[in-house]
Symmetry: C2
DNA sequence: TAGATTGTTAATCGATTAACAATC
DNA sequence: TAGATTGTTAATCGATTAACAATC
């Protein structure tokens, strides 16, 4: 079983390597990537090894080959289609992220229950009424469901998505979704990061008070 | 040094305990929280111990005391003021999150370079021109800077924030910010999660192909 | 060749889980 | 009392880092 922590580092390397390609650099090494990202060089070697790419001693890795290997490993070449549910500001923000397509995902349509949002087109993505969701998702080959609704309805939406045959859910609410084991769920819980920020800032204040 | 991983779990318990309070439940236990969150019960005991709260054998922990202890530990009681830079959709989405105030942070003003956004008021937060940023931040007691700009300008904004005396940065771009050691940075990099989702979905497809 | 880098194995570190005495 | 839960110490697990032979 490959560890998620390794998979999470690969997009980081990827962006730096992409920049190197743009700058016309042909070869890079674990040492260089380590300096750029702060990740230990042995870690980087192991992560690259996951992709199956073999490097050249004394020269490092070919930038073009690295890009290809990482994109292939992360399955970023064949793009999954996604439906987004909840076309509020957060939903709209995601619809505006063009570069998701470079990361293996394309948002095809958005859905909302709010009549004021229906018909709105953002970045070529139309907001449709929620009651068309199940019908459309079965007809099209949609793999990913994105949930940007209020937390109270997240589980309900997830259930609808699973019933419609979705394979992966990107959940932007703090609700912990209950889904079958074969469904991949990736959650972004903003409050957890905010806890760290708030807690660490509190410690700084307390320290200076003690001086 | 307290581990970030523990701090990240506390907001999770907090929400479940808050719900218990709402439902009139007076006592809870590590076993119950474990069932709700999926976190191991010993882990939960250790995390609660961090807050300094002592439980009652055979009964568990008092819900009200737990809420108080976690909020205090995460420093969620004294609310830090924040300035947000980048009033696009993502920035607006964050401005609309009222519940951040319950998590120790309040967004006071937003800033943007786009003249069309200036003057816009969202959820009582006004969007001001970026050139007023440094002046205002020095006059008010602002601890947190939120970056929801395009990634290319994130470092520049971070530099301005640090120069203006900000103590913590919540970074929503994938740019890896370079800041002095005493600045707390919490980053939300959407692409890293998308890598996991895409990669795991690819494996599912491959597995079914092999059947 | 000399030296920088790879890839891998071993050691360390930290986080998670198991075990268990103490307690009400 | 009996039994469920706490809090803590010990054991395990996994991830990170160090060490080093192989290579061009």
């Amino acid at each position: 079983m490959v560890r998620n922590s390794a998979i999470r580092r690969l997009p980081l390397y990827y962006r730096h390597i992409l920049k190197m390609q743009k700058d016309g650099i042909q070869y890079t090494s674990a040492r260089i990537l380590s300096e750029l990202t702060g990740v230990h060089k042995t870690q980087i070697r192991k992560d690259i090894a996951l992709t199956g790419l073999v490097g050249v001693p004394r020269r490092g890795h070919c930038v073009n080959a690295l890009i290809k290997a990482i994109a292939e490993y992360l399955n970023w070449n064949d793009i999954s289609s996604a439906f987004l549910v909840g076309a509020g500001n957060l939903g709209k923000a995601l619809m505006n992220f063009d570069s998701f397509e470079k990361s293996g995902m394309k948002i095809i349509s958005a859905f909302d229950v709010n009549v004021h949002e229906i018909g709105v087109v953002i970045n070529d993505i139309e907001v449709l009424p929620m009651d068309k969701f199940s019908d459309l998702i079965k007809r099209m080959h949609i793999n990913i469901g994105i949930i940007t609704t209020p937390p109270e309805v997240a589980q309900e939406i997830a259930d609808i998505m699973v019933a419609a045959g979705i394979k992966g859910i990107w959940n932007f609410t703090y609700t912990q979704l209950e889904v079958p084991d074969d469904i991949v769920v990736e959650s972004v819980d903003l409050y957890r990061g905010l806890g760290v920020l708030s807690m660490r800032l509190g410690n700084i204040d307390n320290l200076s008070d003690e001086e």
